[in-house]
């Protein structure tokens, strides 16, 4: 067990995986210098430029080439820097990687992990701050993951590489420096949520950075006598319905909180699924449908903070 950052955990996991399997390669911009967030630190020295590939600024070809590599025996880990840049590669992600297995009748597989860091990040404004994970949950063929802790970033990255499906992998830019204990042998199963806090009055479902703010909100609520159960979904698709439904049956109240824009966010999908089952009072919470502004107060205005989450929870409980 070692203490490491969320970024270092990813580098460590990739190092372990590449050491164990020569078919794994990494490609993207600035990987030679360890990636712009240090999430590839040390890998070039360990594995050389053929397996840690510094690419041109050519997002479409980065992902397209990864598809070609995957179809011919490699397991590429693809870096998009920030999700906003992945929009230059949407054909390659959605039409090429995700649909390949189906449309060619299972002749090929695309075991590629596409890392697309999400989230608000120190006045990075409208084109470097988005959380677009719900777009990818909409696409058949993709696995969608969003780890919130160093341990999960280590274990889920390994699971993503090993799973054989194309994976949309979302790390949060504000989580890079987060420290935590990492057990390199611990596995996190794709599709399994984590119950981060046990409670009986209300369930808060979240993922990525918003997990931490939901936990802060839960502490504030506890001081008022409200016991919140906090579920870190970790896998957006296939999401852990059993865990969410079990908690909903226990608390009768479910709040889904995420940083992404609320309208058509993945919280809507969870809420609709719960509503169809009709066994809980529901609320969802995401950002207002506005681009993220540059000035600190403009940026803060769209954030789903612990205070906002706690207020929504109180309202749902009628307190």
């Amino acid at each position: 067990m070692a203490v490491m950052t969320y970024a270092a955990a990813a580098a460590s996991a990739l190092n372990d995986a590449m050491r164990a399997d020569p078919a794994i390669v990494a490609l993207g911009e600035d990987l030679g210098r360890g990636g712009i967030f240090g999430q590839y630190a040390g890998l070039l020295a360990a594995f050389g430029p053929e397996r840690v590939i510094d690419t041109p600024i050519s997002e479409a070809t980065i992902v397209g080439a990864a598809v070609g590599m995957a179809l011919t025996g490699l397991k590429p880990v693809v870096e998009m820097r920030v999700i906003d840049f992945a929009l230059c590669a949407m054909d390659e992600i959605v039409n090429q990687a995700a649909k390949n297995r189906f449309m060619f009748g299972g002749q090929g597989r695309v075991p590629a992990v596409i890392r697309m860091p999400i989230g608000v990040w120190t006045s990075s404004a409208a084109q470097h701050s988005q959380s677009l994970e719900s777009w990818f949950a909409h696409v058949p063929g993709l696995v969608v993951l969003a780890p919130a802790t160093p341990q999960d970033n280590h274990a889920l990255l390994k699971a993503a590489i090993a799973c054989g499906d194309p994976v949309a992998y979302f790390e949060h830019k504000e989580l890079w420096p987060l420290q935590g204990e990492v057990d390199a042998d611990q596995r996190t199963e794709i599709g399994k949520a984590a119950i981060r806090r046990v409670g009986s009055d209300i369930t808060i479902v979240s993922w990525s950075k918003a997990v931490h703010w939901s936990l802060e909100a839960a502490e504030a609520l506890a001081a008022e006598g409200i016991q919140a159960e906090m579920i870190d979904l970790r896998t957006i698709w296939p999401w852990d319905r059993d865990a969410v439904f079990a908690s909903a049956a226990k608390t009768g109240h479910v709040l889904i909180a995420h940083e992404a824009v609320q309208a058509a966010g993945f919280g809507a999908e969870i809420a609709a699924t719960l509503a169809e089952a009709g066994n809980a009072k529901l609320a969802r919470l995401g950002a207002k449908r506005a681009p993220v502004g540059y000035a600190p107060n403009l940026e803060a205005a769209v954030r789903v903070t612990p205070a906002v989450i706690a207020a929504k929870a109180r309202a749902l409980l009628g307190r």
């Binding site: 041109p56 090429q96 189906f102 060619f104 090929g108 194309p166």
Partner: protein, 344 residues
Amino acid sequence: MSQSNIPLSHLRALYAMMCRIRAFEDAAEIASKGGVAAFGQAAGSTAHVRGPLHLSTGQEAVPAGVCAHLRPADYMTSTHRGHGHTLAKGADLAGMMHELFGKATGFCGGRGGSMHIADFSVGMLGANGVVAAGIPIAVGAAQSIKIRASHGNPDAIAVTFFGDGAINRGPFAESLNWAAAFKLPLLFVCEDNQWSATTKTGAMSAGEGAAARARAHGLVAETVDGNDVGAVSETARALIADIRQGKGPALLHARTYRFKGHVSVDPAAYRDPKELEAALEHDPLVLAARKLIQLGINVADVDSIMQAAREEVAAAVASADGAAWPDDAAAFTEIQSMGAGQWL
């Protein structure tokens, strides 16, 4: 029209492949009548080949000439107009026709159809419904060959076919640069049929075209009469030999012509009939047949090559017609492993 001097046996083999492609396209075209609703045509219920069918009729010399120099270990990506490439790479003709008919016995089990025709077992990594999208995939396959050189086929190459319309999409420019920067074993083949869907490519393309754009990125590029199968073959042979020796990527610009509309139900009423008349004078099959006769093969022998192709295709059509549809369950298999079954 001069044909390059290539050995008779080689020209005969190229002609036979061109005949198979022509016969395949002709039969697919007939089977598509009453199919997809477009260009003012109503969809009917009688079509055997439903959905958009993009025919490469008139362009057969390009895949035949290029693929004659490929091996099973070489990779290929193709376009929405990809039947010829797929056949020339060695895919089973009947398996292709079954796929066009949407049958369980087709290469993709009826999931893909014409636009997603593929035979991974011969290195044919897929036609593509998106213009230029196959190019970066071939870049990755070529890079994979280099990375995995110690695992088997170090002198394998990748080939990507694309049309003249594709040179105006970003992935083409990205891939030229990338392939040259990494000195990849990749042959770009621009199969220039002069039409971007229903619009003349020349009317909206700046500069001197595919070869000039490739040279600007440091690639070797050759332009060839894409209806002269001997010339295509000889030029491709030289470029491919250099690529196999590690000299880096190259581009072949083959000028040809699309005899049919954009899709099979498109009568191409937007083009000057004289343009098609002139092109038909330069039919690659007619040119090759003429050359074979010049070289001493008698007319009956030449005819028998086409006859054999038509018979092979007719048998494929009959067997495709009688083949079973996929099980309904196939709509929900081969999608993904994680969360399989969780389709809602």
